[in-house]
């Protein structure tokens, strides 16, 4: 009996190890096929860093939009404070399920120059195609569902009885949210923000349709691949990885520590 249990344990470990290797294999491959000199040369090319700056700028704006608009929506979904809760939740899920390329196509019909929204934007001398605004809109559409559902899960995991207890002790709902719900949901919200950041930095499907210019990192990789081949595109893939990874890793480390603090 104990022997069978031990065998099962080792099989489980081996299975987990194989899955982990499969997941990290692309990163290992990237590092294996990239020489330091090629990496430095690619980044020293004129204008090579401009897409990085564009990606960082639009990514930061996207995160701000998500925090301001997506966090309250996720919070209200978690606490079922919306009148048509199920309809709203289904809408967010549908947005999550739409392929990014399709989102891009639909954005042309929604905010393109010949649409009412496009005309309204044009009236204030802006455009939602091939501009920074277009890039932000595309990134928001690609990352928002992940963030909203992540916040919903994080806030939903906080026992509502704690919020009620704070009210009973004299906190207003806003104070109870700030003093009780937010600290407890923060690790989950941080992870959602990290996922949203990664999605925004890697946004491609919708971006290629509505925001071909200005280039962000994913489009630079794509155009470099098209114009000069696979080996030239790899340095930019590493840049994308280096830029996109720190926030998720930091968020992960912080949320692990925060969760451990709750259990100590």
């Amino acid at each position: 009996m104990q022997r069978a249990h031990g065998t099962k344990h080792w099989l489980s470990l081996a299975g987990a190890g194989v899955v982990w290797l499969v997941l990290v294999a692309p990163i290992v491959t990237l590092l294996a096929h990239l020489s330091p000199s090629a990496f430095v040369a690619a980044l020293r090319a004129p204008g090579a860093l401009a897409p990085l700056v564009v990606s960082l700028e639009t990514g930061a704006i996207t995160l701000s939009v998500l925090v301001l608009g997506g966090a309250p929506l996720g919070w209200m979904l978690a606490r079922r404070r919306l009148p048509v809760h199920r309809v709203v939740e289904t809408g967010v899920l549908c947005a999550l399920l739409l392929p990014p390329l399709v989102v891009g196509l639909l954005l042309v019909f929604m905010v393109g120059p010949d649409t009412p929204v496009g005309h309204a934007i044009a009236a204030i001398h802006l455009s939602a195609t091939n501009t920074v605004l277009a890039l932000v809109v595309a990134e928001v559409y690609e990352s928002a569902p992940y963030f909203v559902l992540g916040v919903q899960a994080a806030v939903g995991a906080v026992d509502p009885a704690l919020e009620v207890q704070a009210l009973l002790l004299g906190d207003t709902p806003r104070a109870a949210a700030r003093r009780v719900v937010l600290p407890l949901a923060a690790p989950g919200i941080a992870m959602s923000l990290a996922v949203a950041w990664a999605r925004a930095m890697g946004a491609f499907g919708a971006v290629i349709i509505v925001a071909y210019h200005p280039y962000g990192l994913p489009l630079q990789i794509w155009t470099t691949l098209q114009e000069t081949g696979l080996s030239s595109a790899l340095p930019f893939a590493l840049v994308l990885l280096v830029v996109a990874l720190p926030l998720p890793i930091a968020s992960y480390a912080w949320s692990v520590r925060a969760r451990a603090r709750l259990l100590r």
Partner: protein
């Protein structure tokens, strides 16, 4: 003074109660599960909205069905409620949990004194995840006693505490209630807890307050057969005259029975011993009296297979509608297994 008179429509029950609690007075509500006791507390605290009625605390109307309609939000009511789920904040230490409630009221010294009295002063730096159920309960009680409120409500506060701690917690709570002249309502599952804590005992059943009175009185003189059942009367013996349809029953509380026939002290029952077992320092005996099993807690096991016992301060109830008929209505009786009354 806390005054409440309201009706709450629950999916399964209509809860309709009315009573007052003076400053410094402690009222305990007992009753079966689902009787509506917790609903009463939650309505006072503002977590449940009544369909009719009002709640007034220290002259402030907290709830009124109107006109004008009043519904003061939970956080402005100044009503402290300890729920069955204590809900300590897991991201805060015990000291921080206590300080959460202390705003503007107690000093750190008050907090330390109370924590010492409740035996949690060594836990102040701990986090709730590391505490046992009983420790969480005491921290929750301490937090509530430190809260800046005008009334205290406790929903089964002694759960998870051993008898010694129950006595301590009950005494500390009573001290704070008396010192701050706070109207206090406690919901208890066990009658002894309620009796030990309260000045007034209320029996709640089916959403209604059946009886409210001094704890000793409510147990000795239940207002109805149902109230008697809730406070521990376990047998009801037909004491109607022979050949007359059953009109009165004698309520028997196991703790109000002595061995032997003492007609001057109460109603004498004659029955057959069907079972006995040790119950602490006493013996629990089942007597078959006129086909009814009467449980008695006696000093010793009766020597033979049949025995006489005397029900002290006997209470009779109408067999028709269950209302109490008082001590003398049935008169002292001697009932034998054949059902005849001598």
């Amino acid at each position: 003074m806390l005054e409440l008179d309201f009706c709450v429509e629950r999916r399964d029950l209509r809860v309709e109660v009315a009573f007052c609690v003076a400053g410094g007075q402690r009222v305990a509500l007992v009753g079966p599960s689902g009787a509506g006791k917790t609903t009463v507390l939650e309505t006072v605290a503002g977590l449940v909205r009544p369909c009719r009625g009002s709640v007034t605390l220290a002259g402030r109307v907290l709830t009124a069905s109107g006109p004008p309609e009043v519904d003061v939000p939970v956080w402005l009511r100044r009503v402290g409620l300890l729920r069955q789920q204590v809900a300590l904040f897991p991201h805060l230490s015990v000291a921080e949990n206590l300080a959460y409630a202390r705003r503007g009221l107690g000093t750190t010294a008050t907090q330390d004194t109370l924590a010492e009295s409740l035996g949690i002063s060594s836990l102040l730096d701990e986090h709730p995840a590391t505490l046992s159920g009983g420790q969480c309960q005491r921290v929750g009680i301490c937090r509530l006693l430190l809260a800046d409120v005008d009334a205290l409500l406790f929903d089964e506060p002694f759960t998870g505490l051993d008898p010694e701690l129950r006595r301590t917690v009950s005494a500390v709570t009573a001290e704070v209630v008396a010192a701050r002249r706070l109207p206090t309502v406690l919901v208890a599952h066990e009658l002894t807890e309620a009796q030990a804590f309260a000045d007034l005992l209320g029996i709640v059943d089916g959403g209604r307050l059946l009886q409210l009175g001094a704890p000793h009185e409510v147990v000795r003189r239940p207002g109805s057969r149902r109230a008697a059942e809730i406070v521990g009367y376990r047998a009801f013996v037909d004491t109607s005259p022979h050949a007359v349809p059953c009109s009165t029953v004698l309520g028997v509380h196991p703790g109000r029975v002595v061995a032997g026939a003492h007609p001057d002290a109460g109603a004498v029952l004659h029955g057959t011993v069907t079972r006995w077992r040790a119950a602490g320092a006493r013996v629990e005996v089942d007597l078959d009296v006129a086909g009814v099993t009467v449980a008695c807690e006696l000093e010793d096991r009766p020597p033979g297979t049949s025995a006489d016992v005397t029900v002290l301060d006997p209470q009779w109830f109408s067999a028709v509608d269950g209302r109490a008929l008082g001590r003398q209505s049935g008169g002292p009786a001697v009932v034998d297994p054949g059902g005849s009354t001598r």
